[in-house]
């Protein structure tokens, strides 16, 4: 992988990471988007889309409500797309593991970021309580800078994991196939459970069921 590609991946992972909470929130942090673009960067958009789809199923669980904890799928999806590059679709299971594990680490990194922000705001408390606009601006920009560093480090961690996976794959093809099957299965379960929850109460089953029938019809009629 060239230095240019690596830099592009790092930059994209950082953008996807800060999009989650700090800046814009236009959802380039969603795994489907982040992995698709990462796939384009490494020259295998299809692999990016596929691994992004699996991670997107898992991301359907996330409700970024208030101070809730949630995994960071943006940088994770970038790493997973790199791990999936050139891999046949039925063997992307290990790449999904890279994505899930990086997203899980991302959860902790967000907690650490919030603590750092809190410490900074405490230091600025007296100036903020006086209505000092410079203190407000300083806190805002420092928050963005910290999140950018966090996202970059998380992307680097994920890419490191992807590198290890690509150069050290002890498992047999059959095992990787089984991993893909099981991880897709858990992803589908996640989407189904959350689809029902979003529909609300018993109506959730009805709406999910109607959708399922529509999806099956689409599949049969295309």
């Amino acid at each position: 992988m060239s230095l240019l590609t690596l830099s592009a991946l790092g930059a994209w992972g950082m953008i996807a990471g800060i999009d989650l909470v700090s800046v814009l929130q236009v959802m380039v942090a969603r795994p489907l988007v982040a992995a698709t673009v990462a796939g384009v960067i490494v020259g295998d958009p299809t692999a990016g889309v596929l691994v992004g789809m699996v991670l997107e199923l898992y991301a359907l669980e996330v409700l970024a409500v208030g101070g809730a904890r949630y995994p960071d799928f943006g940088p994770a999806a970038v790493a997973a797309a790199v791990a999936a590059e050139g891999v046949p679709p039925i063997l992307i299971g290990p790449a999904v593991i890279v994505g899930l594990f990086t997203a899980y680490v991302g959860d902790w990194s967000i907690l650490a970021l919030r603590r750092l922000n809190t410490r900074h705001v405490r230091r600025l408390a007296a100036r903020l309580d006086e209505g000092d606009v410079h203190a407000v601006t300083s806190a805002q920009f420092a928050g963005i800078a910290r999140d950018a560093v966090r996202a970059l480090l998380l992307t680097a961690f994920g890419l490191g994991l992807a590198y290890v996976l690509r150069h050290w794959t002890p498992s047999a093809v059959r095992v990787r196939e089984l991993l893909t099957a099981v991880l897709v299965g858990v992803g589908l379960a996640t989407a189904a459970v959350n689809g029902k929850r979003l529909g609300g109460g018993r109506a959730g089953y009805v709406w999910l069921g109607i959708g399922l029938l529509g999806g099956i019809a689409w599949l049969l009629l295309r």
Binding site: L63, V136, W218
Partner: protein
């Protein structure tokens, strides 16, 4: 009252995109709200060096939390209250009163409605269309209402001021709140068979069986056995079980 200029409102709108940049446990998005409101407060009597501006900024930085897309409603309403010379205690009460509704409405409308619906459409199209179409659809379907909601919030907040509660009863909001949940559930339902076919379609019978078993066990665990475990941890545990099982 010297109303803020159009450029000040535009600047506030852009700053609203970073309202959570300094999310922290003490003031939550209070700093972001102050940063968003600040351009609209510059036109207070006395300007940026005046006592009114400083008092307003002091109040603006206090604890606040809401859905980020609806935070503009609070920013606009609070800035308007400062311009209308509403007493500080009343502005503080307004701020407190907005905490719950703006969080609850935004969470239901966006996180539990628009986002999963857009995600499901993106997934369905990714399964059935050329690479990139699904991701593009997700971004488009999500961001049109997202940006519209932010802009509407800021404008409605400024227009209604202390009577901002009226804006929350807007017919489009109540209709959207009623529809988005079922819409998201239905869209996920449509996406599921298409995604399953795309991702597991090339597996052999044993692979299909493994996918089906994992899906059934996954539903049971996430719905009834350990709903707090979370999908990511369940996925990692399942992968570990496969690796250990096959090694053994």
């Amino acid at each position: 009252m010297a109303a803020p200029s159009v450029s000040a409102i535009v600047r506030s709108g852009l700053r609203l995109l970073t309202v959570q940049a300094c999310w922290n446990y003490e003031r939550m998005i209070g700093i972001g709200l102050a940063y968003t409101s600040e351009p609209m407060l510059r036109s207070l009597p006395g300007g940026r060096t005046g006592a009114r501006y400083r008092d307003a900024m002091r109040r603006a930085t206090r604890y606040f939390n809401a859905h980020p897309y609806l935070a503009g409603l609070a920013a606009g309403a609070l800035a308007r209250a400062e311009h209308d010379d509403v007493p500080g205690e009343q502005t503080d009460r307004l701020r407190t009163a907005l905490l719950g509704p703006l969080g609850a409405i935004g969470d239901r409308l966006v996180w539990a409605g628009t986002l999963p619906a857009a995600s499901a459409v993106g997934l369905a199209l990714s399964a059935d269309a050329p690479a990139g179409i699904g991701a593009a659809a997700l971004l488009a379907l999500y961001n049109v209402p997202h940006i519209a909601l932010r802009l509407w919030g800021l404008r409605a907040g400024w227009r209604y001021g202390t009577k901002v509660g009226r804006a929350l009863g807007a017919p489009f909001l109540t209709t959207a709140l009623r529809l988005v949940g079922p819409l998201a559930a239905g869209a996920i339902g449509v996406a599921l068979p298409l995604v399953a076919h795309r991702l597991a379609g090339d597996l052999d019978v044993a692979g299909w069986t493994a996918t089906a078993v994992a899906a059934i066990v996954g539903v049971i665990v996430l719905r009834w056995v350990a709903p707090r475990l979370g999908a990511v941890r369940l996925g990692l545990l399942a992968a570990l079980a496969v690796l250990v099982g096959t090694a053994w």
